[in-house]
Amino acid sequence: MSVGLKSTRLISLIRCCQASQRIVQPSLGYANMQDCSSIWVHESTPSPSKLLSYQASQQLLTVSKLFSTTHSNNASSVQEDKLSELTTEKDQAEFDKLYRSITLECRGHDKAVLASYSRFLTTAAKHLEICVDKIDTPRHHIIRYDTLKSAFVKKKHRVQYEIRTYFLIIKFLRLTSSTADTFLEYVQRNIPEGVAMIVTKYIV
């Protein structure tokens, strides 16, 4: 069973938060925005003192205070048990980030290429067990130019050019960072020529 844990930064962070008697949002052992300093601190084995001295920790504690809930008491005790289990089991493991959704917007000049690519994306998602929420193909965008055919005079004779951009928007739901990194790398390595991609991640 691969849970996808990353470093024990989260655990030591929670401990130092608990030490200062602040209630931390129940986090189920996954890194989230409230633990932003744990994402940004690039240390393999941080000590609580190091974390506290980091600039963002003050913001972190106020942010975590924002989301303190009274009914987290039961949850936090359960979390503590779970976390203590996890630390004993996998001390060097890292935590996955969680993505609520990832939207891929592909743009190209050829509709057929985008259609094939969309088929590839959905097939790959199906094999990797990623939920596909929506596939959208908004109307293409056209830029037209009207230019003179000849370099000199001949105003009546023109040439018209057109640049069409076709769009493909696919939304995937509920990805862990391991799954997302794997899927995105695979998909981006196989992107066809002349297709651009915008990846929008909604980090939980």
Binding site: S2, S27, Q59, V63, D96, L98, F120, T182, E193, I203
Partner: protein, 305 residues
């Protein structure tokens, strides 16, 4: 007569006359017959296009392992592409520039995709069951961070738009009282969407996305803390400044209290409530027949008429 002894005659003599092989006398040298070289055996394959030689059960993923421009002799499909000439079908695949220009997906056939996905599946991790529903996600993680990254074929990897970061929070999850909510909405302005009740803070003023993220969190913290505070000058707000009609602060309530003092009786709460509702309705909603009728009835009840 001299007997010429050479190797061949010796051999013949030794072997006896069982093999009656005599070299044919060639006065005019003929061209030697095709020598059997190693490569020559495969000539029959190279003389024909691959499509006529490959088997139907071959592994196509090995034939076309990566992205490649279309090669008509290797692809066993009768594809035609392009605008047809008059009274002619579309041009066939042999020497078809259009077919060669367009990117093809022959390296990503369904069995190949399945094979490759199976190979990379081990790097994926499952989504936690506890966070399957959106309510659970909103409960445990009310803060959502939105980042974008851009992929395009250009000389540079960078894209200036990637530095923009957005934070979204549900107003209800901030657990502010009425005053806090009101103050926060005033501070935040257009960043609040009343339909979804989501507060969105976007930052792109810093050069790096991490810095922008820090800034967003800082802004949220500051706004939250400021909205919790009540400044002394906030009490200086007069009744004419209020956006809504509050019965408790109004003259109507004073009038009712004076009436109670005058008559010496304390009116039952229901009558006062109906009166206050009627007055509030007139102020906050339109003055229509219904509200005026309610007001009339409420006043009559208070005056016991």
């Amino acid at each position: 007569m001299r007997f010429l002894l050479n190797l061949s005659t010796c051999k013949m003599l030794l072997q006896g006359s069982s093999e009656e092989k005599f070299k044919v006398l060639e006065l005019v040298k003929k061209k030697s017959a095709a020598k059997k070289k190693f490569g020559r055996t495969l000539e029959k394959f190279f003389k024909q296009p691959r499509i006529q030689v490959q088997s139907v059960t071959q592994d196509w993923g090995s034939v076309w392992p990566g992205p490649r421009s279309f090669h008509p002799a290797s692809v066993p499909l009768p594809i035609r592409m392009g605008y047809p000439k008059k009274n002619e079908p579309s041009p066939d695949k042999w020497g078809n520039a259009e077919l060669m220009k367009i990117p093809n997906f022959l390296h990503l056939t369904p069995p190949v995709i399945e094979r490759q996905c199976k190979a990379i599946k081990k790097f994926c991790t499952p989504w936690p069951k506890e966070l399957e529903s959106e309510e659970a996600q909103n409960f445990f993680y009310p803060l959502v961070v939105k980042t974008s990254s851009y992929l395009q074929s250009s000389p540079s990897l960078r894209d200036a738009r990637a530095r923009s970061v957005s934070i979204t929070v549900s107003l209800d999850s901030l657990k502010l009282d009425w005053h806090g909510c009101d103050k926060l909405l005033r501070l935040v302005g257009e960043r609040f969407d009343p339909i979804t009740r989501l507060l969105t803070i976007t930052a792109d003023r810093c050069p790096l996305s991490q810095q922008n993220l820090d800034y967003c969190v800082y802004l949220l913290t500051v706004i939250y803390n400021e909205s919790k505070k009540t400044e002394p000058w906030e009490h200086e707000k007069g009744e004419f400044d209020y956006e809504y009609f509050d019965f408790d602060r109004s003259k109507s309530k004073e009038t009712v209290e004076k009436l109670q003092e005058f008559t010496g009786e304390i009116l039952p709460e229901e009558k006062i409530e109906s009166y206050s509702n009627a007055v509030v309705a007139i102020h906050n909603e339109d003055e229509n027949e219904e509200t005026l009728e309610n007001y009339k009835n409420a006043v009559l009840k208070i005056l016991k008429l």
